[in-house]
């Protein structure tokens, strides 16, 4: 371990709560998003237990409705959206591009505080009456009919939106102006490209959902009529405004995860990534086209047939850049020197689950099919494959990959491989049955269901217990390793990125001397400093080179 690093640069609770060091703020985020993940996870567990029997095994209908709503709100707004950007992005973007910090360190700290204040509002709502509107807050249910604590929740999400906006703003400016000498745009790590695209969505989408939820909140507080048909308002307008953000928000969750995978694969295959420019460009393409598909959530609201045709078409277009990424990642493995380390297992698990999630998106984008599977468990399964199988798998994989950089310690390798496999199996057991449930016609958000759906629900709940183990294991051994893990050294894998050129953990100012970049991204050939043998790529066993 280096003698001076960001963790021991100063001591005391004040040195953490008033820090402007992006690495410490990232750790503050790590603790807070883990807290919300835990809360959302408890709700999820209760949901799955409840659905063991057709009549509902655990709670009353009111409570069940609150459980799935609070699960969605906690997971989406307070875990998934900040997870990779605010933890890994915050920690890694400055060292990856050779900067001492983000462009606006104080704003970075401010956005954490905004997140905490928003989180307090939402927790207040959860603990005083709960929330039973669904995370989508459809009016007029949310603005008039619901008897739960909608107002504080809406305010909390409104406030939290600014945290996201400020993070996105900080990343965009940082990537534009803070790059080290020699770090050209096309030498940027794909993780940075992914975060650039994510930030675009954050700054362009979040304000719209913020104002929409504010209007819905005002409608509820002062009995106004923006979205209330009884007073001349239009509930469908709310859905348009809501999905204008909330569909692109899916890309806020998945793009950073794609960035993580694009880092892990070249490192553990020890070769440049296949089609760097295509992967970088596809991130931007996803962010841009992603803004043009929102009304595919509304095919059965009675929207105009022509609108539906246009939105279905655009939804198919947005699938192409995602497919391009998957093909490039797969091709990157060809003639690599592939190790079976845990981050690689997570990354490959991500590709598998994301592929299923992405392909099932094609089913939902299909107009004729959507009239049957819309708002059924098929949708639930699809977006959990994207958000949990994709985004969370990438997040956990990224945590493993950069854990030595963040803490300076290695995690137990065998246990972590085991956890990756448990997570993959548990996830599929939980969510694959839900595709079939959905096609059979089980609608989402049901606290009870006809008995013929029970077998698949029990299967799903059984899988969820395996999945829970898959999450608890890394939480336990990563925490353990902070104290007892082996010292990692600056570059344990070794990887080519700039963040690996500095100590683990890095010094407070990231680099002792400002680095100069004179190599292409993921280039193992001209890097004698990594201590690898360039010619010895393939062993005689498969010497078809």
């Amino acid at each position: 371990m280096p003698r001076d690093h960001y963790l021991n640069a100063s001591y005391g609770i004040r040195s953490w709560l008033l820090t402007t060091d992006h690495k410490r703020i990232a750790l503050l985020y790590l603790i807070s998003v883990t807290f919300f993940f835990f809360i959302g996870g408890i709700f999820a567990t209760m949901i799955r237990i409840h659905l063991l029997t057709p009549a509902g095994a655990l709670v009353t209908p009111e409570t069940y409705n609150k459980l799935f709503t609070m699960h969605g709100v906690a997971m989406i707004f307070f875990f998934l959206i900040p997870s990779i950007p605010a933890v890994l992005g915050n920690f890694l973007i400055p060292p990856m591009i050779g900067a001492k910090d983000l462009a606006f360190p104080k704003i970075n700290l401010l956005s954490w505080y905004i997140y905490i204040i928003g989180g307090c509002f939402v927790l207040y709502s959860f603990s005083t009456g709960g929330l039973d509107t669904g995370w989508t807050f459809y009016t007029p249910l949310s603005s008039i009919y619901s008897n739960s604590a909608v107002t504080p929740a809406v305010l909390g999400i409104f406030i939290n939106g600014f945290s996201s906006i400020l993070t996105g703003l900080n990343f965009i400016v940082t990537i534009h102006t803070m790059r080290a000498p020699g770090m050209t745009w096309f030498r940027l790590p794909l993780f940075a490209w992914a975060h650039y695209a994510t930030s675009l969505v954050m700054i362009l989408g979040t304000p719209v959902v913020a104002i929409t939820l504010l209007l819905a909140g005002l409608e509820r507080m002062f009995h106004l009529g923006f979205f209330n048909p009884a007073m001349g308002g239009d509930p469908i307008l709310f859905q348009h405004l809501f999905w204008f953000y909330s569909h692109p928000a899916v890309y806020i969750m998945i793009l950073p995860s794609m960035g993580v995978v694009s880092e892990i694969i070249p490192t553990f295959a020890r070769k440049p990534i296949f089609g760097y420019h295509f992967i970088a460009a596809s991130s931007i393409a996803i962010a841009v086209i992603g803004f043009l598909v929102w009304a595919h959530h509304m095919f059965v609201t009675g929207e105009s047939t022509y609108a539906a045709l246009a939105f279905s078409f655009l939804s198919y277009l947005v699938a192409i850049p995602s497919a391009v990424k998957v093909f490039n990642w797969t091709a990157s493995l060809y003639k690599g020197s592939i190790s079976w380390d845990a981050p690689m297992l997570y990354a490959l698990g991500f590709i598998g689950l994301f592929t299923i999630g992405g392909l099932t998106g094609l089913f939902l984008a299909c107009l004729g099919l959507d009239i049957h599977i819309h708002d059924t468990y098929f949708v639930i399964a699809h977006f959990h494959y994207i958000m949990v199988g994709g985004a969370v798998m990438g997040y956990v994989g990224g945590l493993h990959y950069w854990w030595p950089k963040i803490t300076g310690k290695l995690y137990p390798e065998a246990l972590s491989r085991f956890a990756a496999i448990v997570l993959f199996i548990g996830f599929n057991l939980t969510f694959f049955p839900q595709f079939i449930l959905g096609y059979l016609g089980m609608p989402r958000r049901y606290h009870s269901y006809p008995p013929e759906f029970q077998v698949l629900n029990v299967l799903s709940t059984a899988g969820a217990s395996v999945l829970a183990l898959g999450y608890l294991l890394p939480m336990a051994y990563l925490t353990w390793s902070m104290r007892y893990g082996k010292v990692a050294g600056p570059n344990p894998w070794p990887a080519t990125g700039l963040e690996w050129k500095t100590d683990s953990p890095p010094p407070a100012e990231n680099f002792h001397v400002t680095p100069v970049v004179d190599w292409e991204p993921y280039d193992y050939r001209n890097r004698p400093d990594l201590g690898l043998v360039a010619g010895a790529s393939l062993t005689p066993a498969h010497g078809d080179d």
């Binding site: 462009a103 940082t174 803070m178 362009l204 304000p207 104002i211 209007l215 009995h223 001349g232």
Partner: protein
């Protein structure tokens, strides 16, 4: 990060710092455009749907105060621009003077806005149970122009007269929608003005210690950007809220 002079530790050069701050403010303004955009869209759709009621609601606004406020705000943009220019050419005393002038004009705007809001309360034009779009024309205040009140009355009668091809029986409830949007949009704009005033006070404090130089004047410049943006929002709000139905 430590600061050396005016250079914050995360930056290498003043130039880089300035570029970052300016880009940051522009991006922030982009988010603001979308923030207001959601409300402008809601306004547009409802204006299209309830054409008459929005016209009626608009005609109850005090166009004199609105026009004065528009002039005040445009003038404040001028003084703000002058403050930025003074900082760039290094006229330290002028910077403070123009900033104070901008703050004063901003306060005048907010003061007039308070007067207008009070009128709405007095005239039962705040959405809610007591909302009554007829009240104003039936209970004019001494300060009201009798001609305006008569025109307003006529407008209302026309809107609810069944001879009118754009007859709107629900003019009262749809005018409430108009006033909901009026308060939401001008309220949010006023909130931005208050934030701007806070930023100006901070700038005045800094400029009193004569720290703005031709090399370092970025804070003045980016607050200026923000101030101009808030003005531009008003330039859109004024016609949409006050002028839409004045041509008759």
């Amino acid at each position: 990060m430590h600061r050396t002079g005016e250079l914050y530790g995360q930056f290498q050069t003043l130039e880089q710092q300035k570029e970052s701050a300016t880009l940051g403010m522009w991006i922030f303004l982009v988010t603001e455009v979308l923030f207001f955009g959601g409300m402008f869209l809601t306004y547009t759709i409802n204006r299209h749907e309830y054409f008459t009621a929005f016209g009626v609601g608009s005609n109850t606004l005090d166009i004199k105060l609105g026009t004065i406020n528009t002039a005040v705000l445009i003038l404040s943009s001028l003084t703000m621009a002058m403050a930025v220019w003074s900082a760039q050419v290094g006229k330290k005393a002028l910077v403070t003077g123009f900033l104070i002038a901008t703050l004063a004009l901003g306060s005048v705007f907010l003061g007039i806005k308070v007067v207008e809001y009070k009128q709405k309360f007095d005239h039962h034009l705040v959405p809610g149970r007591n909302f009554d779009v007829w009240y104003h024309s039936e209970h004019p205040l001494p300060s009201d122009d009798p001609k305006e009140i008569a025109a307003e009355r006529e407008e209302l009668e026309k809107a609810t007269s069944s001879q009118n091809p754009k007859y709107d029986p629900d003019v009262n409830s749809h005018a409430q929608l108009y006033f909901s949007l009026y308060f939401a949009m001008t309220g949010l704009h006023a909130l931005h003005m208050i934030v701007g005033a806070g930023l100006l006070i901070w700038l005045i404090k800094v400029s009193l210690s004569a720290r703005f130089t031709p090399q370092y004047n970025n804070p003045v410049e980016i607050v200026g950007l923000y101030w101009h943006f808030v003005d531009i929002v008003w330039i859109y709000l004024f016609p949409l809220l006050y002028l839409i139905d004045r041509h008759r």
